[in-house]
């Protein structure tokens, strides 16, 4: 008899953060304070990110059934009528399936819809290629007028939720499971278009996003024991992108490694390369992510190990980068 495969549940957003709040609880609390917040979901109103809100404000939750595109456009109609809709979507189906509703109904119209795109990257990878969400950074970054953020833990998620609440245009949240281990001790202070610095370093800089920042931070700690100083930047904003921080890293450390749980074609690494090239910054760049091919299907941890998306894999990439002339 085999073991039960425990790789996924709908628990995203259940993890408690400081003050006993989870993302779901924080959303419900925002709903208590703001009657203009509504939740739209395609058969996800029972998922923890939405469930507490739904229990407290059932009249402001609209579950559209398994019809993602309709849910997006319904949310846009609510936003055009004075509401701030939070649309909970599965990462594999949000940007990819609803790119056009995001572009035409939210971004072109500049309406304040918030897309909570949860279970992104390889979170649901066990279920097959259909459930891999590794194209969403490329898609969303190409949409004019869309803000793209990627919280890396519940604390940064809360910071981004609150700080973008009154942004006039749409915001896409790329969330992994929503209950990652804590990375920030308290709620970090985030500013629009700026990365968060997690570690100082002079030898190289890692710029990572989402889950990858956890591995990057661990890798930097491992290398510190050998006297190698690696700066770590958390790309919580993917659009607008923190060009100043990228250029500063290029000038100060001369070597940059990007890490992401996303296709290397069109992701964070591509965006950083673009900034460096446009500004004539001569830093050495290494892009680490998922290869541009159909990925294997397995438990997320097995896939992370296979593709080197681990602290050890990142240490290896850094060593190669430091050796490069």
């Amino acid at each position: 008899m085999g073991e039960a495969v425990d790789v996924f549940s709908f628990t995203a957003g259940e993890a408690e953060v400081d003050g006993g709040e989870s993302i779901g609880a924080a959303l419900a609390k925002l709903g208590d304070e703001r009657p203009d917040i509504v939740v739209v979901a395609p058969d996800l109103s029972g998922a923890p990110i939405a469930a507490i809100f739904a229990a407290r404000h059932p009249e402001r939750v609209f579950d559209c059934g398994i019809a993602e595109c309709n849910a997006m456009s319904v949310a846009a109609g609510l936003a055009a009528s004075g509401y701030i809709p939070f649309v909970l979507q599965m990462g594999a189906f949000s940007a990819l399936k609803c790119a056009e509703q995001i572009r035409t109904d939210m971004a072109y119209t500049q309406l304040p819809v918030r897309i909570l795109s949860a279970w992104s990257g390889l979170t649901m990878a066990y279920f097959g290629t259909s459930h891999h969400a590794v194209e969403d950074i490329a898609i969303t970054r190409a949409i004019a007028g869309l803000t793209v953020v990627a919280p890396s833990d519940p604390h940064s998620a809360l910071a981004l939720l609150r700080s973008t609440l009154d942004h006039p245009g749409p915001v896409f949240f790329r969330i992994a499971s929503g209950d990652e281990p804590r990375l920030y001790k308290g709620i970090p202070s985030v500013a629009r278009g700026q990365f968060l610095r997690l570690h100082e370093g002079r030898d190289a800089t890692i710029i990572a996003t989402g889950l990858a920042i956890h591995w990057a931070f661990a890798a930097a700690s491992m290398l510190e024991g050998e006297g190698i100083q690696i700066g770590v930047l958390d790309a919580v904003y993917l659009k607008p992108l923190d060009e100043a921080a990228i250029l500063e890293a290029a000038w100060e450390t001369g070597r940059i490694l990007t890490v992401e749980e996303h296709n290397v074609a069109g992701g964070l690494g591509t965006a950083v390369a673009d900034v460096l090239a446009r500004n004539g910054a001569g830093a050495k760049l290494s892009v680490h992510g998922l290869p541009d091919e159909h990925l294997l299907v397995a438990r997320p941890a097995e896939l992370h190990a296979h593709y080197g998306l681990t602290p050890e894999g990142i240490v290896e990439k850094i060593r190669t980068l430091l050796e490069a002339r």
Binding site: A67, N70, M72, S73, G77, A79, S81, T104
Partner: protein, 306 residues
């Protein structure tokens, strides 16, 4: 133009005479020709098919406020088939939603009036469109918002019949009855034509009313050029507080009112009359007892050559 003053509330089902509305639809077609004349390219035939529907909606049926396109209690109007936006511009100008001289810049670089409606450039456009299949869903959002705000505005959405090929329309059709949106009215411009051929020969949509009825709507067919039938259908809409959405399937002619466009409607989906045809147009046919029982002139542009 309509003898009203800024901030006058235009109530629902205003006592506009059928004959005046019929004439209004003819004038709207002329205004559309003028607008496209200035722009150099435009959607004639699929706008002509809804000239009567638009005229009755804006001059009689919808509750609006002169000069105040953002009035919270206004009835909403969404043009799912956004390529017919040129038919909206003269009606919105008449409501003083923007200066009438904007009309002369239609289609020009950076001009607010565009081929498809843009809510960010044109006051009075309740939502942008251009990609078929989205606006019925957007209308659901607006109808849900009315429920939350305890407002009794209606949301009207005009869809093309070819637009019914889009799957999202049926996601929305399912949701509208599920959410009990008696304040939502879908009008299908059943002009029977899409780019490749007759709509149902490309992909069958019939029976349209039967399909909407099966999705939980109150649905019926009318002649979409018969002013009296349109008035009757709109005047007898259920109270917005009711729980069943309404679908009116308007049977129309693509290119209605222009002989050669009626004959080859697909050719005139997107086109330009050109100076020769334009110089001969419009020609109005006088006579009594038109096919829809009107008593006055019947608008018709005849091809001057060939």
């Amino acid at each position: 133009m309509n003898g009203l003053h800024l901030n006058d509330v235009l109530d629902r089902n205003r006592p506009a005479e059928p004959e005046a509305l019929r004439r209004g639809a003819e004038e709207l077609r002329l205004a559309i020709i003028d607008l496209i004349d200035g722009a150099g390219l435009g959607h004639y035939s699929s706008t002509f098919s809804i000239a009567e529907l638009l005229t009755v909606l804006y001059r009689r049926t919808m509750r609006l406020k002169q000069g105040d396109p953002a009035w919270p209690d206004r009835d909403r109007f969404l043009l799912g088939k956004g390529h017919a936006a040129v038919g909206l511009w003269p009606l919105l100008a008449e409501l003083d939603y923007f200066p009438a001289d904007w009309l002369s810049d239609f289609g020009k670089l950076g001009a607010p009036l565009t081929d498809h409606p843009n809510m960010r450039t044109t006051p009075g456009v309740d939502f942008s469109s251009g990609s078929l299949g989205h606006n019925l869903s957007v209308g659901i959002g607006m109808a849900l918002a009315a429920r939350l705000q305890k407002r009794d505005y209606r949301t009207f959405v005009i869809l093309g019949d070819g637009e019914l090929h889009e799957g999202q329309v049926w996601e929305a059709a399912m949701a509208a009855s599920h959410f009990k949106l008696g304040n939502l009215v879908a009008i299908v411009d059943a002009n029977g034509s899409c780019a490749t051929g007759s709509t149902s020969s490309v992909m069958n949509i019939e029976p349209v009313a039967g399909r909407f009825a099966a999705f939980g709507w109150a649905a019926s067919d009318i002649d979409g050029h018969d002013i009296a039938a349109i008035i009757k259908a709109f005047d007898t809409l259920p109270d917005p507080g009711m729980s069943v959405p309404t679908c009116i399937v308007a049977r129309t002619l693509k290119g209605k009112g222009v002989s050669f466009m009626e004959e080859t409607p697909r050719k005139w989906h997107l086109g330009f009359l050109g100076s020769e045809d334009r110089a001969r147009a419009p020609r109005r046919k006088s006579g009594k007892g038109s096919e829809h029982g009107g008593s006055g002139r019947r608008f018709f542009i005849h091809r001057g050559r060939g």
